[in-house]
Amino acid sequence: MVTQAAPAEERSSRHLLDVAGLNWRSLQKLLASAGEMQQLLDSRAGGSDALRGVGVTTLFYEPSTRTRISFEAAAAALGARVTTFNVATSSVGKGESLVDTVRTLEALRSQVIVLRHERAGAPWLAARHFGGSIVNAGDGWHAHPTQALLDLSVLSRNLGDSSGYLAGRRIAIVGDLLHSRVVRSNLHTLTTAGATVLLTGPASLTTGFAEHAASFRGTAGNVQLVGNLDEALHNADAVMALRIQRERLTPGELDSLEAYRAAWGLTEARLAALSPRALVLHPGPMNEGVEIDPNVADGPRSLVLEQVRAGIPMRMAVLAQVVAEARA
């Protein structure tokens, strides 16, 4: 049996490094908290001062639009002091290491660092050298916990039972699995929520995922790697297209974007195979006309903007939780 989590990891931590190891109760708690945060955003006050005086720094070693801005908006909505660390103009350019950088930020009274990094595991290194809380905003190919949490909140709202549980639901994820931190994190949250996940993509970009999929046996859900898009879409309740990450591809991993679209793109013709109520997701940013057609992304099935909107309340919930744990 694959052990998904040692019991000790079920206890909350002052960091959010990963969703691997979080049980359904922990996920539910975050979903409920995000719901409350949404109410707060919708209220006349538009926020709270729960994190007043708390220094939150976004430290992004890779470019980002929605993740960084939604973290900053989330922190501001809770009254935190928000600092954007500009890696390009900082001492990082002079060779300052990640460890030195987080120690410096601690000395400058940051209590929370929201870290994005191009290397897997960087948040674990940061967490070992930082007295406050590290929130992983994406580490290399490895994990993107808050994306998976907001995807779960959207799917639970649209497809879940009264508790948001996804038992019996089939979620297809298509594209570049190899380089995708989004799929790696979504596999944890979706299987913990009881869903069946169908993975597919070109062989060069799904290397290792047969064994990877099999390692989720023993979870509440189920993961299968299938050979083509039509098989993945069959009976799917939702399909998530992953971005072709041109910056991470090595020569030979992809023939051409046209060939990719023909085999793996979410086109209107392709979606005709789906049930009429099946939903479409994309973590963004989209290569429209490659992995997803514009009229699909903007179409009636699309949850893409709902995903973006779900980012702020979920990141509020995460920030509130890690700060509460750090204070406890």
Partner: protein, 460 residues
């Protein structure tokens, strides 16, 4: 230099891999020389005990006396990176680990491709340790032009190698093998196919996939091994004394290829490292079980707070439990003749970084005996197997003199308490760098004394 030692080791568990004897014995040292060895139950019983694995029984003494250990593969970083290690700190670490002889790899800066650099690599306070320099197989370890092997051997080189990288060009590899054969020494090859492994971070497999680390395929080792064997097969027909040694093999597939080639009678040997026999890639996720404690399908994959420890970044990478099992089997069945530490110290600056940006290497010379003893205590390796792999095996490869626990010989011995444990820490480790994933872990086997050439080199 301390005085020549006079001491009586009464009723120890003595293992002599040279004479192939083991059992309870009393060894008396007078003025640095072994004056007498008295086997309590007689030599015939000691011979039978060696053949049965040299394992002490429950009522036998727990303090063992072994020949001082030999490492065929270490990096003392001198010249060029003395901030990470040098001869003084490296030999201090070695005697703490029970070693009396250490062969040093030539990937210094500059590479040990000249007589001057070869000598510089072993200069300094040695704490009584015998240092055997290995010369660079090619100029600058660049893989294009074979070094002046004759001159380097005359200056003391016991082997040639471009360790740290393979000699990728097969024509140059062949020429290096021939040059080594002519000089009567082995070529030690680091088997890696760079086109398959460039930029990779962890062994291809479930752990790398789950942790999003760039995969280092097993084929990256196997292809290089197969290709090296093909060249060796070709060369031995024309150059009889050619000897090829493949260092730090890590995969079941590569070890099977070596075993098969040895079956053909090719002059081929190999070694495995302490970390590849005892650790798995699961350690990168934070699973701290010994390799023999992990059943297939029982991997613990959710990263713990200890995950992504850059001290676990090593080349070749840590692998699955089945590969670690294959490394131990290779020691048992003789495919691998040695445990080589690949002691690779690195400064904090090179290791306290993101996993994929960290320098490769584990500083393991002070813990390798304990790791081997851990495998022994788990029933994985007999004491005879580990002692041979740490003494006679590497001596055979390097042509190094090794006297056993032999009356009349100058005493080079290590006294180790098999029943006591210790914890490696910044305080207990003697080397300059502590890039070592076993920090804080309780390890069996405490070195009490290391005696080299009749003098005390280390005392706990």
């Amino acid at each position: 230099m301390t005085d020549l030692l006079t001491v009586n080791f009464a009723e120890h568990w003595v293992v002599d891999p040279v004479a192939e004897l083991a059992g309870v014995a009393s060894v008396s040292i007078i003025a640095g020389k072994i004056a007498s060895v008295t086997w309590r139950d007689g030599e015939a019983a000691a011979r039978a005990c060696w053949t049965a694995g040299a394992n002490p029984g429950p009522s036998d003494p727990t303090v063992a006396l072994l020949p001082a250990l030999i490492d065929l593969h270490a990096h003392f970083r001198q010249p060029g990176a003395n901030a990470s290690e040098d001869v003084e700190s490296g030999t201090r670490a070695a005697v703490h680990g029970g070693y009396g002889t250490v062969a040093l790899m030539p990937n210094t800066e500059p590479a040990a491709d000249t007589v001057e650099t070869l000598r510089a690599a072993i200069a300094g306070e040695r704490h009584g340790v015998r240092l055997l320099p290995i010369a660079a197989a090619t100029v600058g370890r660049a893989g294009t032009q074979v070094s002046n092997v004759g001159a380097l051997v005359k200056a003391g080189a016991v082997a040639i190698s471009d360790d740290g990288s393979p000699i990728a060009d097969r024509v140059v590899f062949r020429a290096a093998l021939l040059a080594a054969a002519t000089a009567g020494i082995p070529l030690i090859e680091h088997c890696e196919e760079p086109s398959l492994t460039d930029g990779s971070e962890a062994a291809d497999g479930l752990v790398a996939s789950r942790l999003g680390l760039r995969p280092w395929p097993a084929a990256g080792e196997l292809r290089a091994v197969e290709s090296a064997i093909a060249v060796l097969r070709d060369v031995v027909t024309s150059a009889a004394p050619a000897r090829l040694h493949l260092t730090h093999l890590s995969t079941a597939a590569a070890l099977a290829a070596v075993r098969s080639a040895q079956g053909e009678g090719l002059p081929l040997t190999c070694d495995v490292t302490p970390h590849h026999i005892a650790l798995t890639d699961g350690w990168i996720a934070g699973d701290r079980r010994w390799a023999w404690e992990v059943a297939s399908g029982d991997e613990r994959l959710a990263p713990t707070a200890d995950a992504f420890d850059a001290d676990l970044r090593v080349c070749p990478p840590l692998r699955a439990a089945v590969d670690a099992a294959a490394c131990r089997e290779a020691l048992r069945n003789g495919t691998a003749l040695a445990i080589g530490t690949d002691h690779a110290p690195h400064s904090r600056e090179k290791k306290e970084v993101e996993f994929g940006l960290a320098a490769n290497g584990i500083a393991g010379i002070e813990t390798s005996l304990s790791v081997a003893i851990a495998a022994h205590r788990a029933g994985e390796l007999s004491l005879a197997t580990i002692v041979a792999a740490l003494t006679t095996g590497p001596a055979r490869l390097l042509g190094a003199d090794l006297v056993g626990v032999t009356p009349g010989a100058s005493a080079s011995l290590v006294q180790v308490d098999l029943a006591v444990s210790w914890r490696p820490s910044r305080e207990t480790l003697q080397g300059r760098s502590i890039n070592m994933p076993l920090i804080g872990r309780e390890l069996p086997g405490v070195v009490l004394l290391t005696v080299l050439e009749g003098r005390l080199a280390y005392q706990r």
